[in-house]
């Protein structure tokens, strides 16, 4: 039996952060996968220890371009947890508003990429087109399409203009209609179901063993969601459903994200309605943080973001631990990628929503004829979809 090793990465268009996967295949079936991370290690934890608390929030905002408000929220929660600092109600609604808008744009970004990887380029273009108005809402609220700079210890740094809310609600109504349309089109498509159902299954037990989080865990029947389990900010004041499915395959991860996007729009609407009617302060004056330790977390689009700070009474953390959701979701590939065809690897790796980095694979392999060895996972994946489409539609 001849086994072949296929390298994916460290720089690959699929992967936001440079990661290196080594697939061992027997014929077309993956029998083992190994992961090598650390290509983008930037030492944020060490850097943070040289920053003030306010600067730390700005620093962690730059850990990820997609979850750029999840890290600041978790960081602020951790610092506030040291002294049980309360924040004003209006600030709580603004934090929740920004966090949920981020979930909508992140899930739509993922949906587009997933569509592209399996040869549904129309889905990709739709999803990214309908993500654009969400970025415009961000620009209206914060002045930026990304890296919003909204978070402060004790609240938020920028208010939402009540006069702009009616316009934002109208944009959201349009986004809701479009996402419903995409969800229905995706749900009704037999090719999409045939392509994604039963692919890259992560069992509930494996999700628990690997301590997976976010949609990766919820699609496998693990009912965890920080927004419900430990409601912070305005999550205890708004109504929404926790989306949990059971099969653990890529299709269920897609459905979880689509339904969560709709739930997020519901939350955003509720926050905007409250902000229209509830004037007040947006920042409590926090003079100092005493010596102690605090844990902060937030349900980012990919799952729980965790921050821990240790303080000594000065204005800086003496230890700041950060754990992003991909850190616990990526190891689940050891289960979900084993035994599947190579053509399904791409969408399975993408199913935990690793972000996107527009770079190309850098490893050079040489085959037995001393020619460059190449395997195009995207091409394989799209060919499989085309084959299923032909079988179904003739």
């Amino acid at each position: 039996m001849i086994k072949t090793v296929i390298p994916v990465g460290p720089f690959h268009p699929l992967l936001e952060e440079a990661e290196y996967f080594t697939l061992t295949v027997d014929g077309e079936t993956v029998v083992d996968i190994d992961m090598d991370i650390g290509w983008m290690h930037r030492g944020h934890e060490y850097l943070s220890e040289g920053k003030t608390f306010t600067q730390s929030i700005y620093l962690v905002e730059r850990i990820c371009g997609i979850c750029s408000t999840s890290h600041p929220i978790a960081c602020a929660h951790a610092i506030e947890d040291v002294d049980n600092v309360e924040i004003p109600p209006r600030a709580a609604y603004i934090r929740t508003l920004v966090g949920e808008l981020e979930r909508i744009h992140s899930h739509l970004l993922w949906l587009g990429l997933a569509g592209h990887f399996i040869g549904y380029d129309t889905l990709w273009m739709w999803a990214w087109k309908y993500r654009e108005p969400v970025l415009q809402i961000f620009e209206k609220i914060s002045g930026n399409r990304n890296h919003y700079g909204m978070l402060r210890v004790g609240g938020v740094g920028r208010d939402v203009d009540p006069d702009s809310i009616s316009g934002l609600l109208r944009i959201l109504d349009e986004v809701w209609r479009k996402i419903e349309m995409v969800a229905q089109a995706a749900g009704d498509d037999p090719v999409l179901k045939a392509r994604l159902k039963g692919v890259g299954v992560l069992s509930k037990q494996a999700a628990v063993d690997y301590c997976a989080v976010g949609p990766t865990a919820r699609a496998s029947g693990v009912p965890i969601d920080v927004r419900k389990d430990e409601p912070s900010d305005a999550y205890g004041l708004v109504e929404f459903k926790k989306i949990v499915l059971q099969n653990g395959d890529v299709y269920d991860k897609l459905v979880v994200r689509l339904l969560e996007t709709l739930e997020s729009i519901k939350i955003v609407r509720q926050c905007l309605e409250k902000l229209k009617a509830a004037p007040g302060a947006i920042l409590n004056d926090v003079k100092e943080i005493s010596a102690g330790e605090g844990i902060g977390r937030y349900e980012a689009p990919r799952g729980e973001v965790f921050h821990y700070v240790r303080t000594d009474g000065s204005n800086r953390p003496i230890r700041h631990k950060v754990r992003a959701p991909s850190y616990v979701n990526i190891p689940t590939f050891a289960v979900s990628c084993k035994g599947i065809p190579v053509a399904d690897v791409l969408i399975t790796l993408a199913s935990v929503d690793p972000c996107y980095c527009c770079t190309e694979r850098a490893v050079r392999m040489v085959d037995s004829h001393n020619l460059p060895f190449r395997i195009d996972l995207a091409k394989l994946s799209r060919e499989k979809t085309a084959r299923i489409r032909r079988e179904i539609h003739g």
């Binding site: 934890e45 947890d81 389990d229 240790r310 230890r319 631990k321 754990r323």
Partner: protein, 143 residues
């Protein structure tokens, strides 16, 4: 399902100094008792390991595991202290909790803590680092 009171009652003899904050329970555990406490948290209470934090203090090194009890939102954080700064070592919990494998590898390379019984004690983040970093989170704190 055991709760905080049951945990404190059953694991009481294994628990040292304890800090009980709103939704957070930080407590010291001797290295020899760590496995029992972790098994109780992970198997009996269905806690999930969020991550672990290691740091150097004036007295030695410490590893703080963060177990989330998702059904109540409570955190249980067992803390293991090591006074031997030159050769800090403790037993790995990765054989019990698979999700601890990466973070223990990271703590080894960042602070030089040896986790006995770890299934794959290799570098995680700095294997390919051009400067060959060695225990970078300890460099600025002379022992």
């Amino acid at each position: 399902m055991p709760n905080k009171e049951t945990f404190l009652k059953e694991m009481g003899p294994r628990i040292g100094r304890l800090v009980d904050k709103k939704g957070r329970l930080y407590f010291e555990v001797a290295g020899k008792d760590l496995h029992e406490v972790v098994k109780y948290l992970f198997h009996k209470m269905d806690c999930r390991l969020s991550t672990a934090t290691a740091m150097e203090t004036y007295h030695g090194l410490e590893v703080l595991y963060h177990f989330s009890h998702d059904s109540t939102g409570q955190y249980y954080c067992p803390r293991v202290l090591m006074t031997d700064k030159k050769n800090p070592r403790m037993s790995s919990i990765a054989p019990i909790v698979k999700g601890a494998e990466w973070i223990e590898r990271e703590m080894t390379e960042m602070l030089g803590i040896t986790f006995d019984g770890h299934p794959r004690p290799e570098r995680l983040l700095t294997r390919e680092h051009p400067k060959g970093l060695d225990q970078p989170l300890r460099l600025r704190r002379p022992s």
